[in-house]
């Protein structure tokens, strides 16, 4: 076995090296600024298309333009939860320390996107539907998602031992993952006030091409922002948790 391992290491690049917080820390620091720069450029382009290039909507007039923030935020709220549950599951299964740190680094960004989706949804609902809020399946399950993020963060904060906090949080994150398909399919399974999806993998989007382009640019901008934010946050978490190790002391000594 040792010889096979050696061979493997020399033959190909060993990705598992980056499962160690010490190795991942400089990598995260190197790639986070790139994603932040991507996000900044894409946000400017996306918002420009959304507010100045995309045409007025025939039904809703200008108020539909909130879609350029609402839909990317709502998608991210679900995608980030899936990523968080994925890392939580990996952490439970393989007992890797970095996975738990990734899960807790993703949670605040996910909660922010959920909040933005709910808030912009309320602002959009008022002029179009005639109400800020209704308890239909889509809106209620999205609100439940916000509480799942809060619950995850609160549970982790309540337990002092980080390894136990990771385990407890991971179980909660995995239980809550059931809610994601419920949010996504709620508009198909039940009749709701919220309209169905305009974009799906099966058919062409039911929106004009420029509107769709602007929305997708904003989606990529949000992806890039979320990755940059999570990487920077995981660096802080690594420093906090590994504070007693030699390499963090050396790193901090170098900094000050």
């Amino acid at each position: 076995m040792p010889s096979a391992n050696l061979q493997n290491e020399s033959a190909s690049f060993n990705w598992f090296k980056y499962a160690s917080p010490q190795a991942f820390f400089p990598l995260a620091g190197a790639i986070a600024p790139w994603f932040a720069a991507f996000a900044a450029v894409l946000f400017v382009v996306g918002l420009y298309i959304g507010f100045f290039v995309a045409p007025t909507d025939a039904q809703q007039g200008e108020s539909y333009r909130i879609i350029f923030i609402h839909v990317p935020a709502a998608w991210m709220s679900m995608v980030i939860y899936l990523a968080m549950a994925f890392w939580a599951g990996i952490g439970l299964a393989f007992n890797t320390r970095l996975s738990g740190m990734m899960a807790s680094a993703l949670a605040p960004t996910g909660a922010w996107f959920t909040f933005i989706a709910l808030w912009t949804g309320a602002l959009w609902g008022r002029p179009t539907w005639g109400t800020w809020w209704v308890w239909d399946a889509r809106l209620t399950s999205e609100l439940l998602l916000l509480f799942l993020y809060f619950g995850f963060m609160a549970l982790q904060a309540a337990i002092d031992d980080p390894r136990r906090a990771d385990k407890a949080g991971a179980v909660l994150a995995l239980v809550g993952v059931i809610n994601i398909p419920i949010i996504y399919f709620s508009v198909q399974w039940w009749n709701t006030l919220h309209q169905g999806s305009s974009v799906s993998l099966k058919s062409a989007p039911t929106m004009a091409a420029t509107m769709f382009t602007g929305m997708m640019v904003m989606v990529f901008a949000c992806w890039a922002y979320a990755i940059a934010a999570a990487l920077w946050r995981v660096r802080c978490i690594i420093l906090e948790r590994e504070l007693r190790t030699d390499w963090v002391r050396a790193y901090l000594g170098k900094q000050t």
Binding site: P55, A58, Q59, W129, G130, L193, Q195, S197, M211
Partner: protein
């Protein structure tokens, strides 16, 4: 079986059991998760009797009538099979239009649905006004062409 394989199996089994439980709960509450009833469901007495509920459908074209008192509006909600007359006192949302979706809350009184709230339900299509006009024109010509077929039905 290595310990980590056992843990993976436990996680997968746990999530699967939870998904099953959630599925069963949701299908048991199917009736209560419905945000509105269609006029056909109301006609089949599936809507709750004696308490407020919501009716959803299309506002029938040409059915919106404003009463002389200035605040009451009468219209008909239809799902093309059945329809319900609605009476509403208050301000209608901007997107309330004939031929478009609507969800209204209230109770049935002598066959008329007396609404306390009217919400517009818009669809998931977004297009510039010129495109909407083009679609309308195309539909009109299509209807002319197939009009005889539809009438024959």
């Amino acid at each position: 079986m290595k310990p980590r394989h056992r843990r993976i199996a436990l996680i997968v089994a746990g999530v699967a059991v939870l998904a099953l439980a959630a599925g069963l709960v949701l299908s048991a509450f199917q009736q209560n998760l419905v945000f509105f009833f269609t006029p056909s469901q109301v006609a089949a007495n599936e809507a709750p009797q004696g308490r407020a509920f919501r009716v959803g459908g299309m506002v029938e074209t040409g059915s919106v009538k404003r009463q002389p008192d200035g605040v009451t509006v009468n219209f008909v909600v239809t799902d093309t099979a059945k329809s319900i007359p609605v009476a509403y006192k208050g301000v209608l949302p901007d997107l309330f239009r004939e031929g478009k979706g609507v969800v209204t809350q209230g109770r049935l009184e002598n066959g008329v649905f007396v609404a306390s709230e009217v919400l517009a339900k818009h669809d998931e299509n977004y297009m510039p006004p010129e495109a909407a006009d083009a679609v309308k024109k195309a539909q009109a010509t299509n209807q002319k062409a197939t009009g005889t077929v539809i009438n024959a039905k």
